[in-house]
């Protein structure tokens, strides 16, 4: 599924990221313990988290995640945005809590991988 389609249907706000209509999302992962996300997320996942620390960019790059969605109307730290822009990583924000967003994504056909 295209990232741009998810952004539209889930009403996400784009903090940074380009060519969103070209980016492909192949699955989803949700987590706030970055050590767990490093261990268990999969390439191409859209990652739902409340963490806003710059380390989220490194984790997303390492795991080749499709994008990060920060929930609950939270904004990433300035340094996080700067790093994401340098890396060309998409960061989105969402007004919904993680549970709601995961539900909406699931009904759209995005699945977690086991």
């Amino acid at each position: 599924m295209k990232l741009s389609e998810i952004i539209k249907k889930c009403n996400l706000h784009v903090v940074c990221g380009e060519d969103l209509e070209k980016k492909e999302v192949s699955g989803g992962y949700s987590g706030d313990l970055l050590s767990d996300v490093m261990a268990n997320s999969k390439k191409g996942d859209i990652w739902i988290t409340l963490q806003i620390h710059p380390n989220i960019v490194a984790v997303a790059m390492l795991k080749e995640l499709a994008a990060i969605v920060i929930i609950n109307k939270r904004m990433p730290e300035a340094e996080t945005i700067k790093k994401a822009e340098t890396e060309g990583l998409s960061i989105l924000t969402c007004d919904m809590p993680a549970f709601e967003l995961a539900g909406v994504l699931y009904t759209m056909g995005v699945r977690g991988k086991t």
């Binding site: 313990l33 970055l34 050590s35 620390h53 380390n55 490194a58």
Partner: protein, 224 residues
């Protein structure tokens, strides 16, 4: 744990230094300092601060005034809420005679709203040392919460919990070798005091000497 019994236990265990580090609070530091007066035990006023990322950072402060100033700043930045004593227990403030002076109603179990870099800066600006707590644990540790230790975060040391040996921790988390490492008991109960300790080669048990030992300068060092 009453300050009197904490200090007595430290003396029985033959410790030279103890840091009193309550969670997001330092209300009982005064009593501990007063009890330890006239003994060989040096009490370092401290606090264990929970950052917005829920990373725990130990603050070791040079004196009582510094820890109180840090506490004021932390209280201003606590996640709003009141302690529920039926769930988290009473948060008692006592004096050096173990007499109850009051109850802290703040939700101290929770995190602050401060990013970890800000926590470290606030500790340093008051002359303290910032040590990442129990980095070998998954929960509330900097590695567990943030995946790895952020670059450019000026931590003075990392603490290994009593459940892991230094060599086990180094094998599991190779990145920690770049930092000074200490072990401590993180004692929440009297029986745990001294369960895990660190030895320093220092002139006296002051924070300044500890700082030199962590840096390994002027002949001071971490022994084990």
């Amino acid at each position: 744990m009453s300050p009197k019994r904490v200090i007595e236990t430290c003396l029985v265990k033959d410790l030279d230094i103890v840091a009193i580090c309550d969670h997001n609070s330092a209300e009982n530091v005064r009593a501990a300092i007063d009890v330890a007066r006239e003994t060989k035990l040096q009490v370092i006023p401290g606090m264990e601060i929970s950052s917005a990322e829920e990373v725990h950072i130990i603050a070791l402060m040079p004196d009582y005034e510094a820890v109180m100033s840090l506490q004021d700043m932390i209280y201003e930045n606590l996640t709003p809420g009141e302690n529920d004593e039926s769930i988290f227990g009473e948060q008692i403030i006592v004096n050096e005679l173990d007499e109850i002076e009051g109850y802290n109603k703040r939700l101290l179990i929770s995190a602050t709203l401060l990013p970890v870099s800000k926590v470290v800066n606030e500790i340093h600006s008051r002359g303290g040392l910032a040590i990442a707590s129990h980095v070998d644990r998954e929960v509330y540790s900097i590695i567990g919460q943030l995946g790895f230790i952020p670059e450019n975060l000026p931590l003075d040391a990392l603490e290994i919990s009593s459940s892991t040996t230094l060599s086990q921790a180094k094998a599991r988390f190779p990145d920690i070798k770049a930092y000074p490492l200490i072990s401590s008991s993180d004692a929440h109960y009297l029986d745990d005091i001294g369960k895990s300790t660190s030895q320093f080669n220092v002139e006296n048990p002051s924070l300044g000497e500890l700082s030199k030992a962590l840096k390994g300068v002027d002949g001071r060092s971490i022994v084990a």
